[in-house]
Subunit: 218 residues, 2 copies
DNA sequence: TAGATTGTTAATCGATTAACAATC
DNA sequence: TAGATTGTTAATCGATTAACAATC
């Protein structure tokens, strides 16, 4: 029984959910049974207040005087995240990055199920990646109509990203995991995008080093 | 001439810098000469106020009645980010992900320079990735002492992450780009970490789809 | 000069933290 | 019951937005 409509929950809270899920999962694996918000805060470098506020957006998972049962908490957050849904996912672009993501990520663990990989280059078709055969993009339409995947992972050059995204929406894709170095624009409501800019992330390190240098100089 | 000590600038602002740099770079490439905060806000889905506030943390780059000169702005933000520093960077782990990052990312574009790739598995040593020869980890110490790299990209299993990070700090590494699915703990000041959790990112899509389903049901 | 747009201060909004009564 | 710790309300803090005087 959710305490509020999910759409009322701030993105700040939602963004922290996967990290909660990770830490709680680790603790469950280690055999820890219960935890207080204070102890969890310590481990995650958060405040106890924030943890209690965050969890209470979704329900009263704790018990006064006791704390939180970790296994139960993990199950609840998993439900919220839709971990067991196994949303059908396709990867477009079987280059270095597409290949690595297919092989490296355990999609199941994250609520998704990889069902197809496509590449522009017909020569790549037929090669096997992560137990799947790479298909030529010419088969994309028929595949989507047949299989109805919901998530597309874009591992393509930025020049192709926007056009392909529009096409995929018309084929029924509702979510994009976009590695194309280009912020795709989605006007369609109910379609969500995670733009992953690895370049932005490493630039933060360059910034930090550059800044540290400067403060030494001054 | 910075307006404030860089350490006073909030991380919210800093995190937006790479995105500014990207958008401004695109506009320069397209030949646009000047832009007002209002026009840029429109393109980036921000407010004009926020753009002016953000840029003013670092200096008065604009001109009243005119706006901002894009080429100049790009140069300035590049300086702030340390884009031309070419910080020496090594990758640890030449598996799928390490290989893909080496081949896929243009480190130069992001203020870094890839100078070495290492792998645990001696069998991988000698294979070429991104114009570099993969080295066995047994050579890590001597390499770091000789070359003094500043950034380490961790593409290794989470079980190995913390120990290796500590070792690398003792070898002079100041920054980690951590893909190991584990939040490494750094007590050392002046050492920075970007924990990249690709799983967290794709879970957000699962969450969004799961949530959309629910609002339809209700 | 008049018009445009910045730099900057003040107002608003939202997120985090603190406090405490409820309750297991 | 007494102690612990939650759920929740109130206070604080910081980030975003609005407003406008400065100025190109």
């Amino acid at each position: 029984m959710p305490k509020a409509k999910k759409s009322d929950i701030s993105v700040s809270v939602i963004k922290r959910l996967p990290r909660y899920y990770r830490f709680i999962g680790e603790l469950v694996k280690q055999g820890t049974v219960r935890i207080s918000s204070g102890e969890l805060a310590e481990k995650m470098s958060l405040t106890a207040s924030q943890i209690r506020q965050d969890l209470n957006c979704f329900g009263g998972f704790g018990q006064q005087g006791y704390g939180y049962n970790l296994a139960e908490l993990r199950t609840e957050i998993g439900k919220i995240l839709g971990i067991s849904q196994g949303y059908k996912t396709i990867i477009i672009g079987a280059g270095n990055l597409g290949h690595a993501i297919a092989a490296h990520m355990d999609f199941r663990e994250y609520g998704c199920r990889l069902v197809g990989i496509f590449d522009n280059d017909p020569k790549k078709a037929g090669s096997r990646v992560a137990d799947l055969e790479v298909m030529p993009v010419s088969e994309l339409d028929s595949f989507c109509i047949r299989e109805q995947p919901k998530i597309a992972v874009l591992c393509i050059p930025k020049t192709a990203a926007q056009e392909l995204a529009d096409k995929l929406i018309s084929l029924g894709i509702n979510a994009f995991w976009n590695f194309s170095h280009y912020d795709i624009k989605i006007t369609h409501k109910d379609v969500v995008v995670e733009n992953v800019h690895l370049g932005d992330s490493i630039m933060m390190l360059s910034y930090a080093l550059n800044n540290a240098d400067e403060s030494e100089k001054e």
